[in-house]
Symmetry: none
Subunit: 141 residues, 4 copies
């Protein structure tokens, strides 16, 4: 039997809170998705003004980061024509995202969930995802 650690809802709200705060700061309303370690949704918020397409994109980024235990921008680096990882972006029905903005949430060296942001530029999405993790980690003390 394996024993897994998984984000609970309180953890997920902290991640969203930190990401939303940064989104407000930069003036870009976001879709924010938090998944558990297997990639299933725990919490989601679309800030007023967030994009409709980002509802799915944010979830796919969070899924990828958690289930593949890799930041989506790291998949982006290797998903280049001619590289052996090219094509990963169409896997799992296209849910495996190579667009910056998805980060695994790691506690004590174990991936316990994922955070995915979408509506801004990939860099803005990445910055807000990181802000979510920073806030969560600070709250854990």
């Amino acid at each position: 039997m394996l024993t897994m650690k998984r984000l609970d809802l309180a953890d997920a709200r902290l991640l969203i809170e930190g990401a939303a705060r940064k989104s407000q700061e930069i003036g870009v309303p976001m879709c924010i998705a938090i998944t558990d370690e297997s990639g299933n949704l725990v919490a989601f918020e679309r800030m007023d003004g967030g994009k409709t397409s980002s509802v799915i994109v944010a979830q796919d980024k969070a899924y990828t980061a958690a289930a593949a235990r890799k930041a989506t921008h790291d998949y982006n680096k290797v998903c280049v024509p001619g590289n052996l990882a090219f094509g990963i972006h169409t896997e799992v029905g296209g849910r495996l995202s190579t667009v910056g903005g998805g980060l695994p949430v790691t506690v004590d060296g174990e991936v316990v969930g994922g955070i995915g942001l979408s509506s801004g530029t990939p860099q803005q999405d990445m910055d807000c995802a990181q802000a979510g993790i920073d806030h969560f980690m600070a709250a854990r003390g």
Copy 2:
């Protein structure tokens, strides 16, 4: 030009809050999804212990209630073999839900969103969805 009324994030949080309160009262942790009037997700929470399959089912119920402007239990009543509406449950890739637990959110006679609950029996899901709407309406005063 059309002008649409749509739930904002604060509205969605109220709907979740009311539904979650009822879920706690009956001791059944739920997945709670809130969509806008077009059926796109605004907010979602999986209470600790909510079912993994309900992550999707709750969203489908909320989608159906909003986009088709009909409670999923009303679709259930007419989705009976021999009735002309039979088969509606397989439409939109199976997303059109006929399982009780999805309710349209109506303000001033206009559907502005949907709420979908999943993890309990359909009747429990319906009760909690209604509690979400009641709480939201009370808060609007």
Copy 3:
């Protein structure tokens, strides 16, 4: 943070072994799928002669039993036209199975995975799934 128990590969092999033994006994080669508690595949075997369509059906049954924490034959009972749960069989892209042969694997009161069998009649599938669980439980002592 939540802590989840999950079947490991050795557990999954035991479940398959018990189910396959029963399948041989009744002379019906089966597809046998074992998922973790979230419904993701841990192990799968198609016995020589198992049906090609059952490759997917067995996985869907195991997914349902684990992710919804319910035997597929229990969903079957309530998925009757006119009942509020009717339509559940088309949810999650049709993956939510109401065909007998999927059982949750429960240890110390917690669902830690699912087993799904397919290729025989639903009753045969159910019997073999139960045999898998019995063998697993016996091996745990």
Copy 4:
């Protein structure tokens, strides 16, 4: 009438055994999928620690290698913008994989199945897939 040669379950277990041995050697727990010559799953194992997203990716690689009778890294080479094969990675609902790690299993000049590995780098996945084939061939004598 055609007569097809197809991996049986004992063959599939040998392929998994060889791949798993190599995975343990390099310290990367893998998802290992074996399909028949038509691309339908015969056996699958997720080693403890294998990635959740790789459950699907491994199966897609094995499917591609068998059904298209081509190593996924060979598809990768030609799936380059400007080349006439570009776009193959989005076909069959994205199941046609161009990510290294899927190899056809060929006996007496005939493709009898496929093996797909996922969780490591594409090169690690390829090495472990090859180790599976080597072990299988050695066991055949």
